[in-house]
């Protein structure tokens, strides 16, 4: 990908609180027009990185750019088309939803005011927009926060743990909204510790652990990394296990509930395995590749890190 195709880019970004390094030399590249997951366990430095990008706290070292513009040097221009929610969206509870949007619109370009009705409509809050925010549920506040982001007509949305506090229906709705925003050509960068949600929502991911990015790329590629595995369904499990464990290209084999799981050096050995089983008189009822989940990749990466300590 060429330089300039990244909507967020950092080099050696570091943040320390006292002697504790929370973000450690992060080199992040978020391509334009994708849903990008910044994935890591609690305390990995996700929120701190987002706060640095948005100018809420200053880095100790490193450089960063948003929309191709260096920040903090051209921060106002860079953030003019960025919508963001950090931790949870905050509002003045004594003001209505519409008034809260107007307050933030006043800090942006004048056209922002004209986008308030459309933003409320899009998140389904028109009917409650003249009620005080202190009467809103958590889910409604999240939606109002999204409306506040949309007022900026954002090229980039940065959402920190956006699914916190949402019920399953809200999560599904949110996922659809993210996909719709990406389909419009916008970039959505979201941080999360919920692997499953990142896997379902995002195209790209950076896995972060203890302030460092340990893997980054398209989710499909990350899932495909590591050794391929197949599931084998047969009637004579014990005999099949014996044949497969002795077959070339099989590095590990095990069975659970009558289904064999074989780890392979190369996916191309699958026809040979099938042939061996059939020639041994074992009918093969099932033979399918196993798709590694992001969770497995994440655990593999983080456990590898723990092993090296």
């Amino acid at each position: 990908m060429a330089e300039g195709d990244y909507v967020v880019e950092t080099q050696g970004l570091t943040k320390r609180f006292g002697k504790r390094t929370v973000v450690r030399g992060v080199e992040l590249q978020v391509p334009r027009g994708v849903a990008f997951g910044y994935l890591g366990p609690n305390g990995a430095g996700k929120t701190t990185l987002i706060r640095m990008l948005l100018g809420l706290t200053r880095p100790n070292a490193g450089t960063m750019s948003l929309r191709g513009l260096p920040v903090p040097k051209r921060r106002a221009e860079a953030l003019s088309r960025v919508g963001a929610i950090v931790e949870e969206p905050r509002f003045h509870g004594h003001l209505t939803g519409r008034e809260n949007l107007a307050i933030v619109a006043a800090a942006r370009e004048r056209e922002t005011f004209t986008r308030i009705p459309a933003a409320l409509e899009r998140v389904g809050l028109v009917h409650r927009s003249d009620d005080r925010v202190r009467t809103y549920s958590m889910g409604m506040r999240q939606r109002l926060g999204i409306a506040r982001c949309l007022m900026a007509d954002p090229e980039l949305l940065i959402l920190d743990e956006p699914m916190n506090g949402l019920d399953p229906a809200g999560i599904l709705e949110f996922r659809q909204l993210v996909r719709a925003l990406v389909d419009e050509g916008r970039t959505v960068m979201l941080s999360s510790h919920i692997l499953d949600e990142v896997e379902k929502t995002c195209d790209y991911v950076a896995i972060v652990d203890r302030g460092e990015i340990v893997a980054m790329g398209p989710i499909a590629e990350l899932q495909g990394e590591g050794q391929p595995r197949v599931l084998v369904g047969v009637d004579e499990t014990a005999k099949a296990l014996e044949i497969l464990s002795g077959a070339p290209g099989v590095t590990d084999v095990s069975s659970e509930n009558g289904v064999i799981q074989a780890t392979l050096a190369d996916i191309d050995v699958v026809p040979e395995l099938n042939r061996r089983l059939v020639e041994a008189g074992i009918p093969v009822r099932r033979l399918e590749p196993m798709r590694a989940s992001l969770e497995e990749r994440f655990l593999a990466i983080t456990s590898r890190l723990e092993d090296t300590e």
Binding site: R90, H92, A107
Partner: protein, 269 residues
């Protein structure tokens, strides 16, 4: 809504100041507290004077006249300044305590602009109450003076400027301190103690000599219009020149707002 090339935003004129005014105006507790502290004493004081005069004109003089204007403004300056401090503390700390300051910062707008807008927005809020209170004092003083001398228009206007200046001063002090320490409650506590007790005690200590000129009560007494000065005196008479009085007040405001602006610009949120 579509993505477009980077542009420098053109913002709505006074948009942020209007937003700050809205935040204060819609806060019901603050609205009624300010009403009670700034407008309330004028209504009560002149109402009682009018009732007493109507009940026993021989024993109680009319509610108007120069002397009662002085007393009315004295009450407005003292009690009203507490309302102004509370409004200033709210303007300085509410965005921060509610977390909305962070939401404003991520728009890319300069933090100094976010701080600066609190000044006109908050002053518009405080001075609108002050204007109502002052109007009561001015109208009653000029129309309900009976046989007493009525204040001249010049005196009424000078008195108005003086009381507006005092309320604006304490609003800005509250705003600066609240923006500096980030807490409305602590700001109100500190400035309330200062306004009602500490500054009076310090000015009364004659051993402090000319250093007493640096406490705001002294320059405000110096700036009070001549005809009402003896009625609005807040502290023992201390001599200070007019220029020094103005300079002292400007320095207080400049230091308080500069510290508040600096903290607003540098604070992690």
């Amino acid at each position: 809504m579509t993505a477009a090339a980077p542009t420098v935003p053109g913002v709505r004129p006074f948009g942020l100041a209007r937003a700050d005014f809205l935040k204060l105006r819609k806060r019901r507790g603050l609205f009624w507290t300010t009403t009670v502290l700034i407008v309330g004493p004028q209504v009560v004081a002149y109402g009682i004077l009018a009732i007493l005069h109507a009940a026993n004109p021989g024993h109680h003089g009319p509610a108007g006249g120069i002397e009662n204007l002085g007393h009315g403004l004295s009450v407005l300056a003292l009690v009203g300044s507490i309302g102004a401090i509370i409004a200033g503390a709210s303007a300085g700390a509410d965005d921060l305590s509610s977390g909305v300051f962070r939401e404003l910062v991520v728009t890319g707008r300069s933090r100094l602009a976010l701080f600066g807008s609190r000044v006109p927005g908050g002053l518009a809020f405080v001075l609108s109450f002050a204007f109502v209170a002052y109007a009561i004092a001015a109208v009653v003083s000029m129309t309900a003076n009976g046989e007493l001398p009525a204040p001249s228009l010049t005196l009424v206007l000078e008195s108005g400027l003086w009381v507006f200046a005092e309320l604006a001063f304490y609003f800005l002090l509250g705003l600066g301190v609240a923006s500096l320490i980030g807490s409305k409650a602590y700001t109100i506590g500190i400035l309330l103690a200062w306004r009602t007790a500490v500054s009076h005690i310090l000015v009364s200590i004659s051993a402090l000599g000319v250093y007493r000129d640096m406490f705001p009560d002294v320059p405000f007494d110096r700036l009070a219009p001549g005809a009402v000065e003896e009625f609005v005196r807040d502290v023992p008479r201390v001599s200070i020149s007019l220029a020094a009085a103005v300079l002292v007040l400007v320095l207080w405001v400049a230091i308080a707002t500069a510290l508040g602006a600096w903290r607003t610009a540098t604070r992690d949120v």
